[in-house]
């Protein structure tokens, strides 16, 4: 097991390294730079040059990259060019908002996904199956920017039940924070849950006519026991993988959700930093989003490995 973990971790590190290079070159090769943004449209070339020098942007790219990497590794995220504040602090201030959102969305997604999945697979009522199936198909069509608009229109504009956007601190003002979380988290969870449900259901149905189910039957085990002790554990894999991927992508998805629901989170910070070519900030935020995704995949892989001895103990195919 430990060797398996090590291998996976090394892999992830390598990937992140490559990603960091890509992001860095992407930003630095693209037109525009923070100096000219800082200087403003009316600045003269000399003014821009002076600022660029001040920011150390006139050093060769390679030097800048390794300087950045070095700082990253020592835990120093650097200082935002345009906002002139420690990036760690900037992220700290926004992280709460985004974390609230993604966490709430993740919980909704997983809980509903799994519950619907088991119902879908085990219920004998055709009606229920079809209803869930349809929900799945439709809500697939509801990416945050679609469901978001609908939700806002219904709950904020038409019925005036919930705020259309903004955020609040869970600590400072829990009530408001929750009210403001409801719509966006639903919007973000909506497309994921049914996919997970379907995957799980499909896998459960497949496992149900696995041979080892016959063995369990021949042992005299009842249906309940067979389902929960034998079938479900053997069916979690694909659903878990999907969960991992989707949770990993939530941080990225937050960008859209935050734009629609006017939440000042990391997403809006990312867009801003990209538009102002705030290299360091954008780099860190992009890395953050990608790292989150990769880490989540890693976690799920490990969870699955923990469940499945064949992976854990390295089965020979």
């Amino acid at each position: 097991m430990s060797q398996y973990v090590v291998r996976r971790l090394l892999g992830a590190v390598v990937v992140l390294f490559v990603v960091s290079i890509v992001i860095f070159s992407l930003l630095h090769l693209a037109p525009g730079d923070p100096a000219s943004v800082l200087a403003g449209p009316d600045a003269t070339q000399s003014q821009v040059a002076a600022i660029r020098h001040g920011l150390g942007l006139d050093r060769p790219a390679v030097t800048q990259y390794f300087a950045w990497l070095g700082h990253l590794l020592t835990g120093d995220l650097g200082t935002s060019y345009t906002l002139q504040r420690p990036i760690s602090e900037l992220i700290g201030q926004r992280f709460g908002s985004t974390l609230q959102l993604t966490a709430a969305a993740a919980i909704l997604m997983v809980v509903f996904g799994l519950i619907m999945g088991v119902i879908l697979a085990t219920t004998r009522l055709r009606v229920i199956r079809q209803i869930i199936d349809w929900l799945a198909t439709v809500s697939l069509a509801l990416p945050p920017f679609v469901s978001g608009v609908i939700l806002i229109f219904l709950f904020a504009v038409l019925w005036k039940l919930l705020p259309s956007g903004g955020d609040a601190s869970l600590v400072g003002d829990p009530a408001a924070a929750l009210r403001k979380l409801i719509l966006p988290s639903i919007a973000m969870a909506l497309p994921g849950a049914p996919v997970i449900a379907r995957l799980l259901a499909g896998e459960i149905r497949r496992s149900l006519d696995n041979e080892f189910v016959l063995t369990a039957q021949s042992k005299g085990a009842g249906r309940k026991r067979i389902v929960w002790r034998h079938v479900v554990p053997n069916s979690l894999g694909p659903a878990l993988i999907e969960v991992g991927i989707r949770i990993g992508h939530l941080l990225g998805g937050a960008v859209v959700a935050e734009a629609i629901f006017a939440r000042p989170g990391l997403g809006s910070l990312l867009i801003q930093s990209v538009e102002t070519r705030d290299y360091l900030l954008a780099q860190v935020l992009l890395m953050l989003a990608i790292t989150a995704a990769i880490v989540m995949q890693l976690v799920t892989e490990l969870v699955i490995a923990a469940i499945d001895p064949r992976i854990r103990l390295g089965a020979k195919a």
Partner: protein
């Protein structure tokens, strides 16, 4: 030839079930027809076709062009403007149809590109194990990156617009095809018919394209239908955060972005494109479901 004397009678005749119970009269492509005849498939295909036809032909019936501006802005639905007008007095219906066309064009360029390129790259493992493995790893990484983030990355590299959106969609969906082809290939390679082809001395390229590809093509078609839906949501997402289609060109996403500011005064502005997105995505999803049921279920 004396051996033939004691040979068994020939196998089942047409129409009669074969050893594994499938009807012989059903050809290989028949399953697609059957899939699209199924309730789900037919409904899905119907929805998509209707939307496409309207988007393509209806504009000729309209009295306003999608770019034609008028003095009265943001009027709600009226006799002249069935959906009302936008902030510079353009007919929303005309723009909706034009926007739908834009999305259709985008998806029709991006998805097939991604499908073909991705599949071929995914099959590279056939020619060189190393290269194949390398690409699979790259695909894994790309799949790990959230779609929006990829979109942002593209927006950094180039000015937003139709081109950047198409590139973003390709970047997001190509790895899926690549991975799928890779896994499928890995599933086919150990099968003896591939070994047989090699023993018979067929060139590897022929084996890849003539033998393996036809056996994984089903999975690709199913995914294409599904990816069409996804592509539309990607365009929307990007346009909503301002990194997608740029004014004055309409697109479903950019109209939703523009209209969401007027939900109070002119709801039709945002809700109409929202409706079209839902129709298209549901339609494509149903088609891919149906194909999945009929074609992939073994």
């Amino acid at each position: 030839m004396s051996t033939t004397a004691t040979l068994p009678p020939v196998g089942p005749a047409q129409g009669e079930p074969s050893p594994d119970g499938r009807l012989l009269t059903r050809g290989l492509w028949g399953r697609y027809v059957q899939a699209l005849r199924s309730a789900r498939g037919a409904a899905g295909l119907g929805i998509v076709l209707v939307v496409v036809l309207i988007a393509v032909f209806a504009p000729t019936l309209l009295s306003y062009g999608a770019y034609e501006q008028g003095p009265d802005a943001l009027t709600g639905p009226s006799a002249h403007h069935l959906l009302g007008t936008d902030e510079v007095g353009r007919d929303l219906l005309a723009r909706l149809l034009a926007g739908t066309r834009v999305d259709l064009i985008i998806t029709l360029i991006a998805v097939p590109t991604a499908a073909v390129a991705g599949t071929l790259l995914g099959l590279l493992g056939m020619l060189s194990r190393f290269v194949g493995a390398l690409f699979q790893r790259i695909f894994d990484v790309l799949l790990g990156v959230p779609a929006v983030i990829l979109g942002v990355a593209v927006a950094i590299a180039m000015a937003p617009g139709m081109k950047s959106v198409i590139i973003a969609i390709v970047l997001v969906t190509l790895p899926m095809f690549g991975r799928q082809a890779g896994t499928a290939l890995a599933g086919q390679l150990p099968l003896d018919y591939v070994a047989a082809a090699e023993v018979l001395g067929f060139p590897r390229r022929r084996i890849m394209l003539r033998h393996v590809l036809p056996n994984i093509v089903d999975a690709i078609f199913v995914r294409i239908a599904f990816t069409m839906a996804q592509a539309i949501t990607i365009e929307g997402g990007l346009s909503v955060i301002g990194l997608g289609i740029q004014s004055p060109q309409p697109s479903l996403g950019s109209m939703i972005k523009g209209g969401s500011a007027y939900l109070l005064t002119t709801p039709s502005y945002a809700l109409a494109p929202v409706g079209v997105v839902i129709l298209l995505v549901v339609g494509y999803t149903m088609v891919s479901d149906a194909l999945n049921q009929a074609v992939l279920r073994k």
